[in-house]
């Protein structure tokens, strides 16, 4: 998991060839409860770090998921449209949210690794 990074807002990123796959952590999906809807981003949208990329909804909460780094959306996980529960059952696998092309790879340096994230959620 050397190429996987985490944010304080409970997102994970996996980097492959300059493209990040982004999702929310298992801890985050547990806090949210059963997801009922994921509002997916438009392909080609350019995001700055901190912009809202996706909204995930459970019955009782709606949470913005922010872009952890700058970049352009290249793919959205369309299987979540029919089955948002994938985020609950496989938050770090099939329940990924979007892929983005990094525009500033150095931003990754400020993110956490898995050990640091585990310490963060205590």
């Amino acid at each position: 998991m050397a190429n996987t990074y985490f944010t304080e807002d409970h997102e994970w990123l996996r980097i492959e060839g300059g493209v990040a796959t982004v999702g929310i952590t298992d801890y985050a999906q547990e806090q949210l409860g059963d997801l009922v809807f994921v509002e997916l981003p438009e392909i080609g949208r350019k995001l700055a770090k901190g912009d809202t990329a996706v909204v995930v909804e459970s019955v009782k909460a709606a949470s913005d998921v922010y872009a952890p780094v700058d970049g352009e959306i290249t793919e959205a996980n369309t299987s979540l449209s029919s089955d948002p529960s994938l985020v609950n059952s496989a938050a770090t696998g099939d329940g990924w949210l979007w892929k983005m092309k990094l525009s500033n790879a150095s931003q990754l340096d400020s993110l956490m690794d898995e050990a640091a994230y585990k310490a963060h959620i205590g």
């Binding site: 059963d34 009922v36 809807f37 509002e39 909804e57 459970s58 019955v59 009782k60 909460a61 709606a62 948002p84 529960s85």
Partner: protein, 936 residues
């Protein structure tokens, strides 16, 4: 010696003098005054008694109001413009409108005890979906004008706020256009003209327009669709029974008023507006939406769906600030449609249309020009300078026509219009009724294939309708059965004497745009009410127009905005809001074009004054307002409220006081004295208007004199910037509050507040050993409500706040407010109306639930099979042949033993699956053909 008659205050206030004494002993204080002086900071206490008329008896108050309302002149109205005469079917009047089982219920957030009204609201959605042809209809908006404004809001969100224009196809009613412009202006949206381009967010199609004419809007609709603008139909629902559904004509959204479906005009309201959208707009839709799901046994059950769109979850990012809707009135409209059925509705519509059609033909034959070729119920005649004279002549015959200008007059027919009316009106123009012309409605006739769902066909005999309404009411738990201890909702008594005037013909049957001289009684009543509410809140002026608390917030913020702009300080747009605020606060601020800055709360629930000072300082130059609730949403009287107001004023901001918790202040302290500039009052909380199962509400605002020029006006009263369709908003329910204040007097109101505080502190004292009190104010006292930290049971026994809420159903209670303002907790507000006996029954239920949880914690009952997680228990489960649970049937269904036999309430469903309901939204009943298709 003669016995004194029992005053009304003793009827309204539940606990007797002896009960109060006993409660004080439990709390551990010698007197009411001691408790109040411990709880309420001295610095805000009101020293003088409220200057209100001495309390009147029920009989005297009814006589006084009746004499006042007799000054209204109720003529037969042909004014139209969105308000029409109706004949309320008596079976609906008696079994629903005047039935506390329907009108005292709360908003159906607790699905299992709300299946009756949820089913009726689901039928409302089906009715609207059928009429409009659009698949997703909500469970009501506040009136036509605000519904159109909400539709514009959908279009703006759809275009992610990038388009800034709204185009018109046909002229809407003047009050609709005014409200839409009021709402558009702070957002920088221009509403005008017919030009449609890439910057047009929505095209508003008036169907028909304010003159009653169906224009040819095909080209405009095609252009709108080509540019991506959303097409919004503003359509009369009765006319829709005869014409093509708006969806077939290109509508993405349809809205309109449901008043003429059996809801009296009531001088403007309340009545429900409908809103329906295409599938792709579902998540952008404002307000409540009922969805179908299933319970744990797989039975169908209803619930409020997709709540994450709404202000209580999404706050400033919500689709709207709307909270209270018009549930009771939506349900009346649905009952009207069920009672008449599709062919009955069409018969009413055809008769109304025929009257208009024959008047138009007659006028034309007599050489009077009429506007348009296609109409439904309204004829607008061109009379060259004679409009005033014709209207005056009509008035002498007991009829009111609508003068549009000196040259144009219009006549709208409704189900109460007669042949004699037609002849008399034609005669005013020197004409006789003509023969009906063919093709006078636009497009193809609708035919018979609509509202095929069984419910619209099975209840046409009065016996069946009466039983249908009773069956639904019996599924629900309303105030006529048990205490509803919902924190921040103030579910107090709605006394019968307060309710009766709403049904009086002098109150119910007046058109809101009747000449001002015809509403003398209403205006006198409103004048009293404005003066009394000003006295109670310490303000200089009151507007009764906002027809819900959210609308009051919005109107108050608009007044603040206008004040800053008038002083050349239009840059002041920052609104500070504590994190504990009701969701409507940030949602309203966003709609008023303000940016929300959240102020933190401390661990003990108070506003973090350091953070407040820092944020006020940081935003000093741009500070528009602070919105704060007092006593706080955490149920305590915070210290330093006056300092807080002074701090905001020092930074040039205005103080918006959220009056949601006014029931803890009336007679003891006044927002105006504390330093607020504007405050809204929820008449449906503190002042006895019933909740109606989720509306109506009334949210007047009080302001200090400097904001008075910026109160909402109305186009029919020679001003503008209205926030509601009618000048006095939901006028016909204002007499409820008038009666309450008139019968309580200043002393009774103060006693009510004191008793509410005693009762809350009593409940808190009794429950504190079992559930920690999350927040306490000075001297460890609370205000009129308390937050029980039920999270302890989650930790010890895995029992969630939902489990406790659902288990309370088995004990015969509606749950307290869940997870507001703190997730996982319950907020309890007993109100002054609940007798001590009922408070004790509630406390004992909560204590019993704590011991049930203790059994789970000790392992006596498994985590996944105990009466809490399995709650609520239906009769079907309790009587099932095989019983497999580790607790008995009696423990399941009669947990309090013999004591609660009389209070037993049986839920019609077990726990509803919320997740499945939101993942697979079903929000209307499919037509019968789809059932048949599925069966084949």
């Amino acid at each position: 010696m003669t016995a004194a008659p029992i005053p009304f205050s003793a009827r309204h206030i539940g606990p007797s003098v002896n009960d109060v004494r006993a409660m004080l002993a439990t709390i551990g204080v010698p007197s009411v005054e001691t408790l109040i002086s411990q709880a309420v900071p001295r610095s805000i206490r009101l020293d003088l008694p409220l200057n209100l008329p001495a309390p009147a008896s029920e009989a005297d108050a009814l006589a006084e109001l009746s004499a006042m309302m007799a000054k209204n002149t109720v003529l037969k109205s042909f004014i139209g413009a969105g308000y029409h005469g109706v004949f309320v079917p008596p079976v609906i009047q008696r079994n629903m409108f005047e039935n506390p089982a329907w009108y005292t219920a709360y908003t159906p957030y607790q699905a299992e005890i709300s299946q009756g009204r949820l089913e009726m609201l689901f039928n409302f959605q089906t009715l609207v979906a059928e009429l409009t042809g659009l698949p997703v209809a909500s469970a009501s908006l506040l009136d036509e004008a605000t519904a159109v404004a909400e539709a514009v809001g959908i279009a703006l969100r759809h275009h992610r706020d990038k388009r800034t224009k709204v185009a018109l196809a046909g002229t809407p009613h003047p009050q609709t256009l005014d409200v839409v412009r009021t709402r558009a202006e702070p957002l920088g949206i221009e509403v005008d003209g017919e030009t449609i381009d890439d910057n047009t967010a929505a095209l508003l199609v008036s169907w028909p327009d304010t003159f009653g004419v169906y224009g040819d809007h095909k080209a405009a609709i095609e252009k709108a669709r080509a540019t991506g603008a959303l097409v919004v139909f503003i359509a009369d629902p009765l006319a829709l029974t005869l014409t093509d559904a708006p969806a077939k004509l290109g509508a993405d959204i349809a809205v309109g008023p449901m008043q003429r479906f059996g809801v009296p005009m009531g001088f403007g309201g309340p009545h429900a507006a409908y809103c329906a959208v295409s599938d792709r707009l579902t998540r952008l839709m404002p307000g409540r939406l009922v969805g179908q799901s299933t319970d744990t046994m797989g039975r169908p059950g209803y619930r409020l769906a997709l709540q994450t769109r709404e202000q209580h979850i999404r706050r400033d990012k919500a689709t709207s600030n709307i909270c209270t809707a018009q549930a009771l009135l939506a349900n009346m409209a649905t009952a009207y449609a069920i009672w008449h059925g599709p062919s009955g509705l069409q018969a009413i519509a055809e008769r109304v249309h025929s009257l208009a059609n024959r008047l138009a033909a007659g006028l034309k034959a007599a050489g009077v020009a009429v506007l348009g070729a296609h109409r439904f119920d309204t004829v607008t005649a061109e009379v060259k300078g004679k409009a005033g004279a014709i209207a005056a002549a009509a008035e002498k015959t007991g009829r009111l026509l609508r003068v549009i200008d000196a040259d144009k007059i219009s006549i709208a027919f409704d189900e109460t219009s007669t042949e004699a009316d037609l002849e008399a009106i034609a005669a005013l123009f020197g004409a006789k009724p003509g023969a009906a012309e063919a093709g006078s409605m636009p497009g193809k006739p609708r035919g018979k294939e609509f509202l095929t769902q069984p419910v619209f066909h099975e209840n046409h005999s009065e016996t069946e309708m009466m039983r249908f309404l009773r069956r639904l009411a019996d599924k629900d738990l309303a105030l006529d059965r048990a205490m509803i201890p919902l924190g921040s909702c103030t579910m107090k008594l709605n006394a019968a004497a307060e309710m009766m005037p709403v049904s009086w013909p002098s109150v119910a049957n007046l058109h809101p745009f009747a000449p001002a001289s015809h509403s003398e009684g209403y205006r006198a009543m409103a004048g009293d009410l404005e003066a009394w509410l000003s006295e109670i809140t310490g303000f200089d002026a009151v507007s009764l127009q906002p027809n819900a608390g959210s609308q009051g917030e919005y109107a108050g913020l608009l007044a603040i905005r206008a004040y800053h702009r008038a002083r050349g300080e239009g840059h002041r747009t920052v609104c500070l809001i504590p994190s504990s605020a009701h969701g409507t606060n940030p949602a309203s601020a966003a709609m008023a074009g303000m940016s929300v800055v959240v102020v933190r709360c401390t661990d003990d629930g108070n506003i973090d004054m350091d953070d407040m000072r820092a944020k006020a300082n940081e935003h000093s130059k741009n500070l528009a307002a602070l919105m704060f609730t007092y006593p706080s949403t955490h149920g305590v009287y915070e210290e330093g409220a006056r300092h807080l107001c002074a701090l905001i004023h020092e930074h040039g901001g205005q103080v918006y006081f959220d009056g949601a918790n006014l029931n803890a202040l009336v007679g003891l302290a006044r927002p105006g004295d504390i330093g607020a500039d504007v405050c809204h009052m929820n008449l449906h909380k503190t002042f006895c208007i019933p909740h109606g199962g989720g509306g109506p509400g009334v949210g007047p605002i009080g302001v200090r004199s400097h904001l008075k020029p910026y109160l909402p006006g109305h186009v029919t009263e020679g001003s503008a910037h209205a926030v509601a369709a009618a000048p006095f908003g939901s006028a016909s329910i204002l007499p409820i509050t008038w009666m309450y204040i008139r019968m309580m007097g200043g002393s009774g109101l103060k006693q009510a507040t004191e008793t509410a505080i005693v009762s809350a502190n009593y409940v808190a004292t009794r429950l504190a050993p079992h559930f920690p009190l999350l927040y306490k104010g000075r001297s460890d006292r609370i205000a009129h409500e308390c937050i029980l930290d039920t999270r302890v049971l989650k930790e010890s026994a895995g029992i969630s706040v939902d489990d406790i809420a659902k288990r309370l159903i088995d004990y015969g209670f509606h749950a307290p407010t869940m997870s507001f303002p703190v997730a996982g907790t319950l907020m309890v507000e007993p109100t002054e109306s609940e007798p001590k006996r009922e408070l004790d029954r509630f406390c004992e239920a909560m204590i019993a639930i704590a011991s049930e949880a203790a059994k789970v914690a000790k392992g006596e009952w498994p985590l996944n099979d105990n009466p809490l997680v399995n709650a609520p228990h239906t009769a079907a489960e309790a009587l099932a042949g095989a019983w497999t649970h580790p607790y008995s049937r009696l423990e399941a269904a009669y947990p309090a033993g013999d004591a609660d036999l009389s209070a037993k309430y049986w839920p019609p469903v077990s726990r509803i699956d919320n997740v499945a309901g939101d993942r697979n939204l079903v929000c209307s009943c499919p037509p019968l053909t789809e059932y048949l298709g599925a069966a084949e």
